[in-house]
Amino acid sequence: MLRILQFLYSLRSFLLFVLLEVLAIGLIVSNNSPQGAAFYNSSNALTGSVLKTRSDVMDFFSLAEANEALLSENAGLLEHLKERGYIPDSIALALDSALEVQYNFKGARIISNSLRFAQNHLTLNKGSKDGVKPGMGIFNEQGVIGRVKSVSENFSVGISLLNTGMTLSSKIKTNNSFGTTNWDGLDSKHAKLLYVPSHVIANVGDTIVTTGFSNVFPEGIEIGIISSVEKGENPNFLDIVISLSTDFSSAHYVYLVENTQANELDSLYKTSQIENEF
């Protein structure tokens, strides 16, 4: 017995190594899946505040660009407003529940972002205190950025579109044929559009937008532009590469969108036993 203990004692550093390695791999497996609940990540108070201070300093240097982007965004919105503007002193009536507001929008700022790994995440400076909930969509004036994964009181962590585990229901704008956008982990400027049947006519230069089928994004938010179309290995589907419209390296200010009817849709899907994976 004593000799066994002595033997184990002489191996103690190896045993510790194996133990810690198993622990670390367990952490990787349990925390890096897109749906997994994340506790010890950058949304907790201490790390969140450190990252926020860092981003406060860094963002100061890009204020001019942020201003410019906001200006152009405002200009676009003003144009929209003019198109549908009410005549002063007229009475607006609510006509139908179909016109009820389905999407709520909020603003936030990215305080930490990565784009060099295969599983990229981003941290936002708004949390449950500001009404952010897991499952909200994240986008900016250029296009889709990601989806909120977990929320703490003051911060929230999102899965970037640049995450091999993230899938996004999307369609070709000109002919409405839909597919799934998924990043292949290689290059932060390109992604793949999967499951587009081979009879669909897709041209280089076509715009890809969100479908609104998922409960995350409203219809028509830009994702990117087709940069190449080829016959894939699977003869049933096309092999389409998208060049993403969002510049992830310079995204600072983002919008969050919430589908107010998501719960109702979810329970409907559940009762009819359909799995909506987006």
């Binding site: 550093s13 510790l16 925390n31 890096n32 941290t123």
Partner: protein
């Protein structure tokens, strides 16, 4: 290790971690060369230090970096592997007369030739573990090897520069 050295080590660790978290998070030269400068802290533990505490501290350091990188477990797994290999690699490349008791494996103490042959394989092992775990099932082997090789070269060069600038000979670190 006396008390003054201990303070110097703690200061070094804090500085390296801060630089890693605040400055180097999104730095990648040509998209392939990452810099893991906090490994310098693990590399410069004294040679006489037992491997048990080294492994434990490395795991903690890796976990700390992970929390800020949102890659829980990746750095921890790789740093633990590196700390484990360090003990055996130090034995394998020991000079003819063995090490002095007070020796620290740093550049000003040991010279550039020995230092590169000490640090480069260890950092390469770290990078290999890191990128294999990061790209599990998605990237090809070539991409992993490419990133590991250039990251380890870049990290060792940065480590050498830091030591040339800040480490003094025979005075703690």
């Amino acid at each position: 290790m006396n008390f003054k050295n201990l303070i110097a080590y703690v200061f070094l660790v804090i500085c390296l971690c801060l630089v890693q978290i605040l400055l180097l998070k999104n730095l990648a030269l040509f998209g392939v060369a990452f810099c893991f400068i906090y490994l310098l802290a693990i590399l410069s533990f004294p040679i006489s230090m037992r491997s048990f505490p080294v492994i434990l501290i490395s795991f903690g350091l890796g976990l700390l970096i992970d929390v800020f990188y949102d890659t829980l477990g990746l750095h921890a797994a790789a740093a633990t592997l590196m700390a484990f290999l360090r003990t055996y690699w130090l034995k394998a490349i020991s000079p003819n007369g063995g090490y002095d008791d007070a020796n620290i494996p740093t550049l000003p103490e040991m010279g550039i030739g020995w230092y590169v042959s000490y640090s480069l394989p260890l950092v390469f092992a770290f990078s290999l573990m890191f990128f294999v775990a990061d790209q599990w099932g998605t990237g090809g082997l070539f991409g992993v090897l490419n990133k590991s090789l250039f990251s380890s070269i870049f990290t060792v060069i940065m480590a050498i520069i830091v030591q040339l600038l800040f480490f003094k000979r025979r005075r703690g670190i």
